[in-house]
Amino acid sequence: MADHDPSLWKRRDVLGGAALFALAVGLPVAAIRLTDLSPDDRPTPRLRRMLREVSQLVIPRSDTPGAGDAGVGDFLIFALAHGMEGTGEPFSHPGTDLPLRANGSLRHTHWLETELDRRGNGDWLALSPTRRAEMLAALDHQAFPDGPPPAVLSPWRAIKGLILTGYYTSQIGGAQELRYALIPGRYDADLPFSSHDRAWSSDWTAVDFG
C-alpha cells in the first residue's frame, strides 16, 4: 500500500490513538514478538493494521479498551501462526482457491485479507469505518447463520474465536472488561443476579464449557 493512499492519515490517527490509549492503561501496544515468527508468518504492515482493525470491530472500545487496543491483532497473527483454535489442521473447502500451508492448513490471515478486500472492492481498509463494520458484520452473520452450524465452516469462525480468546485472556479483557479473582476464597452458591454484574474471566469451568 502506497503512502499517498488517502486513507493513510485516518489509519495513522487510529494507530496514534491506540498508542496513546495503551500508554494510558500502562500496556504496550504489542506484547507479542512478531519477529519470533517464521518469515512466512510475519505480517505485512497492512495486514497487521487490518487485523488490529478487525479485532477492534469485533470488540470495540467502550468504557474499557477494545480488542485492537489490547493487542489482539498481533495475538491473532501469533495464534494463527501456531495453529491455535484448530487452525493448524488440514483445511478442505471444496471449489475454492485458498492460501494453504505445506501441511495443508489454511493461512487464515491471508484468507481474511483477501476476503475482506474482495468484499471491499479491492481495499477494505480504504472504506469508511461504518462500511468496514457493516461488511465484517455481514461476514460474521454468514459464518454464524441461524439454526445448526453449516456443513462447511467459514474460516472466520476460528478467527473470531481467537479474537475472543485474545481479548478475554488479556489483562484488559480479563480483568478490566470482565472481573478476575485468582483467589475467590469462598463459594456463594446462590446470589441474586444483577445486570450490572460483570462476568468472571476466572470462572475456568464456564470458559471450558462455554
Binding site: 470488540i59 478476575y180 483467589i183 462476568a199 464456564a206
Partner: protein, 562 residues
C-alpha cells in the same frame, strides 16, 4: 538376611504416599522410589499465573502438544498451566493392539497423579464387591464392604473429604467434612428428579478438598479457585505432597528417591520371597538396587503390572506373581461419555461466586435389588454440574461490535452437564502384555494394551444417555447434546485391574489382603488389585485397601510371617 529397608514402596502417587505413611507410622524403615522428578509442596511454578502471563494464554502450544502430548492433551485438566504435571507422550510411549483405542493419562513426578486427580472420593458398596459373584463375570472379590469400612473411616478422616450424608446403600456415607453447596439449578434439579424418581438422588460431589482447615497438618481450607491440577500451595486438596508425604517424613523413617525407574523386583525361589528392587537412574543412567523385608507396588495399575511382567525370572517365567497366568488380564476403565448437556432456563435471576472444585453425583440406581438394567447387569452413575456460561460462548454466536461486547460482559445462560460413568466388566481379553519388539527410552519392553468395551458397557452408556436426557428434560432443560457411546478406554482415567484379587491362587494374583498369592512379602495396593470396577471413582478404595494392607503387613511381620 540383613535388609537395607523394612519396606520398599514403588511409586509416590495416591497409594504410594499412603503406603509410605502407614508403613513408616507402623515403625518400618521405608524407601519410596519415584520414577519422575521431585516436586516440593508449594513449588508449583504456574499455580498463580494469569492467562496473560502465559505465552499461549493458558491454552498451550498446539505444535508442542501435537508432538509431545498427543494423548495427555485430551485430559480435561491438561492446560498450559498444568502441562508439566503430565508425561511427555513422545518420551513415554506405549503400544496398543490394532483394534484398541486407549488414552493412558499419566503423571510421572513425585506425587504422581495425586497432583492432577479429580479428587472425587466415594466409597464402594456391597453392590460393587458382590457384583462379580452375582452375575458371574470376573472372579468373586475376597472382601466385602464390612472389611473395608473402618479403613474408609481412617482414610477419609486423614485426607479430608467434604460431602453430604444421604443414607444410600449404593454410595455409603463416610466421615465427611461439611459439604460444598449445590447451586440454584442443582437444587431445583435434585428436587424435580427426586419427586419423579425417588431412587435417583442428586448430591454434591464428595471431594477431597477441605471445607475445614487442618492446621495441625499445615493444610488450609479450599479457596474456591478450582485450579487444583496446577498444584495447591494451600494444601487444600489431598495430594501426596500436601498430606501423606509430610506425615511419613515426620516419622524420620522415610527415604525418598526420585528420577529412578524400577526395572525389576528380585525374587528368591528358595525362600519364595521378594528380596528388593533394581532401578535405572533416568538422569545419569546409573543402576542401583536396594533390599527390603517387603515390597509394596504402587506404581499405578498398569505400571505395577508392567513391573511384575518385567520381573519374570527362571522361577517365574511369565512374570512375578503370575503362577495363575492371569497377570495383566481383566483390565478395566469406566465407560465414560457426555450423557447430556442442557440449557436450563428459569434461573436468570440467580448467579454464584467462586469456583467450586467439585460437581454433583447421581449415584447408581439400576441393577440393585432387581436386575432392571437394559442389556446390562451392573451400574452407571452421573457426575457433572450446573454452570453459567462465560465469554467463550461468544465463539458459537453471531455478533460483532458494541452490543456483542456488552452481551459478553455478563454471564450467559445456565447449563447443566451430566457425564455418564458405566461399570466396566472384567474381561480376560482386555489385558496388558509386554511388546517383545519395541523398548522405551529406558530399554524396557513397551507395555501393550488390548482393550475394548463390550455390549454391556455400550448398553449401559446408551441407557445412561436416555436417563440423563429424561431427567434434564423433566426439569425444564433443553438438551443440546448427549452421547450414547463411550469414549476410548482410559477416558475416565480409572484404569484398573491386571493383578486382581481373588480367593483362588489359580485364578487370581492377590489375596484379600492385597498380598501376592504365594509371595507373602509382596503387596500390590494400587488400582491393579481391583477385581471389578464399580461405577464410581476408585481412588478412595485404593487408599483404604493400601492402609488395610499395611496394617496386615505389620501384623504379619510381628508374627514372623514376613
Amino acid at each position: 538376611m540383613t535388609h537395607q529397608f523394612d519396606a520398599i514402596v514403588v511409586g509416590s502417587g495416591i497409594t504410594g504416599g499412603w503406603a509410605a505413611k502407614e508403613l513408616t507410622e507402623a515403625g518400618f524403615k521405608v524407601l519410596m522410589i519415584e520414577r519422575g522428578r521431585a516436586i516440593e509442596h508449594g513449588d508449583y511454578s504456574r499455580e498463580t499465573k494469569a492467562p496473560w502471563d502465559m505465552p499461549f494464554r493458558g491454552e498451550g502450544d498446539p505444535d508442542l502438544y501435537a508432538g509431545d502430548y498427543p494423548v495427555q492433551r485430551l485430559n480435561r485438566h491438561f492446560t498450559e498451566f498444568t502441562q508439566d504435571h503430565f508425561v511427555n507422550d513422545r518420551e513415554n510411549p506405549y503400544a496398543t493392539e490394532a483394534e484398541t483405542a486407549f488414552t493412558w493419562f499419566r503423571s510421572y513426578q513425585l506425587g504422581g497423579r495425586s497432583l492432577t486427580w479429580g479428587r472425587q472420593a466415594y466409597r464402594w458398596s456391597d453392590y460393587d464387591f458382590g457384583a462379580n459373584k452375582r452375575d458371574g463375570h470376573g472372579t468373586d472379590w475376597p472382601i466385602r464392604y464390612a472389611d473395608l469400612a473402618p479403613w474408609y473411616d481412617h482414610v477419609e478422616s486423614f485426607i479430608g473429604v467434604s460431602g453430604a450424608r444421604e443414607g444410600l446403600a449404593q454410595l455409603p456415607d463416610g466421615q465427611f467434612q461439611p459439604p460444598m453447596a449445590l447451586n440454584a439449578v442443582e437444587v431445583a434439579l435434585r428436587d424435580k428428579i427426586r419427586a419423579k424418581w425417588p431412587e435417583r438422588v442428586l448430591t454434591i460431589g464428595r471431594t477431597a478438598n477441605l471445607t475445614q482447615g487442618k492446621p495441625d497438618e499445615g493444610r488450609n481450607p479450599c479457596q474456591y479457585r478450582s485450579i487444583c491440577a496446577r498444584g495447591c500451595s494451600f494444601g487444600a486438596y489431598f495430594s501426596t505432597q500436601s498430606s501423606t508425604l509430610p506425615a511419613a517424613m515426620k516419622t524420620g523413617r522415610l527415604t525418598v528417591l526420585t528420577d529412578k525407574v524400577v526395572e525389576k523386583v528380585d525374587y528368591d525361589p528358595v525362600t519364595k520371597r521378594v528380596t528388593g528392587v533394581r532401578w535405572l537412574d533416568t538422569k545419569d543412567r546409573s543402576r542401583g538396587s536396594a533390599t527390603a523385608r517387603m515390597v509394596f507396588l504402587n506404581a499405578g495399575a498398569f505400571n505395577s503390572v508392567h513391573l511384575l511382567l518385567n520381573s519374570a525370572s527362571e522361577a517365574m517365567p511369565h512374570g512375578l506373581a503370575n503362577g495363575s497366568g492371569v497377570l495383566g488380564t481383566h483390565i478395566m476403565d469406566h465407560a465414560n461419555t457426555m450423557g447430556a448437556l442442557a440449557v436450563m432456563p428459569g434461573f436468570e435471576l440467580h448467579t454464584s461466586f467462586g469456583n467450586r472444585p467439585t460437581g454433583i453425583i447421581i449415584p447408581r440406581f439400576r441393577n440393585m435389588e432387581r436386575l432392571d438394567g437394559v442389556g446390562h447387569t451392573r451400574g452407571f452413575s452421573f457426575q457433572g454440574g450446573a454452570l453459567q456460561s462465560g465469554w467463550s460462548r461468544g465463539k458459537r454466536e453471531a455478533g460483532t461490535g458494541a452490543q456483542f461486547k456488552e452481551a459478553l460482559r455478563q454471564v450467559g445462560p445456565w447449563r447443566m452437564v451430566l457425564v455418564s460413568f458405566a461399570e466396566c466388566l472384567p474381561r480376560p481379553g482386555n489385558r496388558l502384555t509386554l511388546d517383545r519388539t519395541r523398548t522405551d527410552a529406558n530399554g524396557l519392553p513397551l507395555l501393550n494394551i488390548a482393550f475394548a468395551f463390550g455390549k454391556e458397557e455400550h448398553a449401559a452408556v446408551a441407557e445412561a444417555h436416555a436417563c440423563a436426557t429424561e431427567m434434564l428434560t423433566h426439569a425444564g432443560g433443553q438438551v443440546l447434546f448427549g452421547s450414547d457411546t463411550p469414549g476410548p478406554g482410559g477416558t475416565a482415567i480409572h484404569e484398573m485391574g491386571g493383578a486382581r484379587m481373588g480367593f483362588d491362587p489359580a485364578t487370581s494374583v492377590l489375596n484379600g489382603h492385597s498380598q501376592a498369592h504365594g509371595i507373602a512379602n509382596l503387596f500390590v495396593t494400587d488400582g491393579a488389585q481391583m477385581s471389578s470396577s464399580a461405577c464410581q471413582n476408585p481412588s478412595l478404595t485404593y487408599m483404604a485397601l493400601t492402609a488395610r494392607a499395611a496394617a496386615y503387613a505389620k501384623e504379619q511381620a510381628q508374627a514372623g510371617a514376613i
